[in-house]
Symmetry: C2
């Protein structure tokens, strides 16, 4: 790599809100999105909520002159909704479907049926290995009573862990997507602390866009004002995050968001705002000592956020076990009722009622059985994430025991390539 | 690393057959297994089918003086059954649960409920990063009519891809487990070709054990003779596979299997045979050119096996879609019947029969709905694996188009660290 080497990476991210039959003006928005992406010619366009594979195929065809490479991440029953379009050849892809993703009986929320995931594509650009991740986490339907909090924290941990294990040879790591978390939310802090990723909005040298970088804003005609009543400016839940290995400096030159409408005509591209970042990767001159914020960060916020996540997962686990226990009581009562119905059926007077109630009761027992199994699986998934957190915390304690001069970072298994960013 | 550096790694692998209430002499075998592992003091002991977490906890406690580090991989409803015991500190762990793993309605086979997975533990030994993987793939219940073949091939691909993406900084890669595949089976060839892993049984300088290295042998009193009627010597379905990065030479000094009974007393430890390998990792002297079989292998077998797997997954996908279509017909018929029952209920004469048949019919529609969704998900999972294979094959074609002097290997995204083994 030449000393004056420089790589400019223009990235686009959008949660496209493409629910067939339900999302408003889907076809028109898709056409405009395709036109916009072709005109802007980004290096990478990462989309979420492209639920219909036909929409992906339409975009793939339309964008093929500008973005010859494309990938659709298939998972679950409906799909992950994730796809990418790249100006550069995609060297490799893989994906990880989150273990926990809501409840199948919450049909009106629907997340469980999507198989939410993180997709990875590996690019080789100017001799650098770039790992680009795209993801979409479980939605938050109520901020006051968020029944999916433990699942989202577990997803954030799996996402961070997946990046940690798959980016060991990457020079540049990029994560885009709809995290469904506000910047200060537990899962968001956990993700940033464990991966060492920087937030493009916070780091941008030149920002233009919505107030406070919000990605769901009241000015967007597709956004329900009811959902934003607690946040009059809007909320920031979509992100562009990045880092580079030591020896490289990465900076966000410009960061743009749409502001409730398409940049070239009045109507918005989606109910979310699009993010557009220009990242610049350069050599980190050997004489330049990275500033304190550039190197591995002070680790106590990591330990504290790991503990907080551990507690949250524990509460989720208790809840899952309560539901499993409740379902097992229902099974017990159902079986007792079945025995009672058998006894009633033996008597002439109540035979008809007994026969009539038999099948719904069998349905009740079977339904409760399925719910029991589901929550057992949920508890196991939360327990797995908790055990992984426990292992990391244990190693942090060992690091402390070995003396204060030993930083917890390397013992915590952080990539040696914890982000170096240009100031 | 010193030039005369040498690392000796003693590894134990066993499918322990630990089904609570069903596996014979489970408690006695567990005790003997613990005693044996303590006595032999391996570097790593990797187990499958430890279905009960209590069994794991018992072993963890019993083995703690010899193997201070242990990890249990939780997944699915029952669990993955995978666990590891290590003499050396475990730096990091993660796991990947296979997308496809049989059918929930095949309750008597039970694989779907296990959440079969691959577990990874990262060790730092003598300055080397060792990635040890443990796995257990879907069982083969009938060799003549194997309805799970496409799932097992997809699992083998996911396993190979998981190793490919998570071992990029590993100096040594080790994979142990019950693959439920014979050495020449499609999935086994796919795994070996894509990862470049070597088979310890085939490479061992000194082998002692069962005939042809079989891991289910007729001499084992727990093995059903009916299952082995096509294979009088037994079958080899459990493996120790390994590789190292260039600059390192890895060899299998000794390879042992049990032969139908515990090495120290007459009864077997499990219905599978245990595998014990001594691996030796040394510097690969710079003047030594690796022999042709050591370097990246000729890639046409890879392309051919990728094509074969692609076809097999396609057949599985057609099957999955057929089942989804069949389920949708049942839903249609069920809904028609429901409408008919409504009409019957309006008449006085048939009201009782109509009311009686209403609930089972609703059950039929719901059941068919669940089966429909399951097979849609199955088709999507197979389609995902096929798309990944397609991508790799496409890149192989590009490599060919670029000229014969360009080896397909680097373009196929193989780790630069394709195994170098000592002859």
């Amino acid at each position: 790599m030449k000393p004056n080497f420089s790589l400019r990476l223009r990235v686009f991210n959008l949660n496209y809100w493409g629910i067939p039959y339900l999302s408003k003006h889907r076809a028109a928005r898709l056409t405009r999105l395709g036109d916009f992406l072709n005109m802007e010619s980004f290096d990478l366009a990462l989309l979420q909520e492209v639920w219909s594979e036909q929409d992906f195929q339409y975009l793939k065809q339309k964008l093929s002159p500008t973005y010859p490479a494309a990938h659709y991440f298939r998972s679950g029953i409906i799909g992950s909704g994730l796809c990418v379009f790249s100006k550069h050849p995609i060297q490799d892809t893989t994906q990880h479907v989150y273990t926990l993703n809501g409840y199948p009986y919450m049909i009106h929320h629907g997340d469980w049926f999507c198989g939410k995931a993180v997709g990875l594509l590996v690019l080789h650009l100017s001799g650098l290995v770039v790992n680009a991740y795209v993801t979409h986490l479980h939605a938050e339907y109520s901020r006051q009573k968020d029944i999916y909090l433990a699942h989202r924290v577990a997803q954030a941990w799996e996402l961070a862990h997946f990046i940690h294990h798959t980016s060991k040879k990457a020079d540049v790591v990029l994560l885009c997507g709809d995290l469904n978390m506000h910047p200060k939310d537990l899962g968001c802090r956990l993700l940033k602390e464990w991966t060492g990723l920087f937030d493009a909005y916070l780091e941008a040298q030149d920002f233009q866009g919505s107030e406070e970088g919000c990605t769901m804003v009241p000015g967007n005609c597709y956004v329900s004002q009811q959902d934003l009543k607690l946040f009059p400016c809007g909320i920031r839940i979509d992100y562009v995050l990045y880092k580079a290995v030591p020896g490289l400096c990465i900076s966000c030159k410009t960061f743009r968001t749409t502001t409730g409408h398409d940049p070239h005509n009045g109507s918005p591209l989606s109910d979310h705002e699009a993010l557009m970042a220009t990242l610049c990767v350069r050599h980190s001159p050997p004489q330049q000592n990275p500033s304190p914020t550039c190197g591995p960060a002070e680790r106590s916020p990591l330990v504290s956020v790991l503990r907080e996540a551990w507690t949250e997962l524990g509460q989720g686990m208790a809840q899952a076990r309560w539901w499993a226990a409740f379902a097992s009581y229902v099974i017990g009562v159902g079986l007792l009722l079945l025995a009672l119905l058998c006894a009633l059926a033996a008597r002439d007077g109540a035979r008809e009622v007994a026969v009539l109630l038999w099948t719904p009761n069998v349905g009740l027992v079977l339904g409760a059985g399925v719910i029991y199994l589901f929550h057992i699986q949920e508890a196991k998934g939360l327990c797995r994430a908790q055990a992984e957190l426990q292992h990391v915390l244990g190693r942090a304690r060992e690091a402390q025991d070995l003396g204060p001069e030993l930083e917890a970072a390397p013992l915590l298994g952080q990539q040696e390539g914890d982000g170096v960013k240009e100031q």
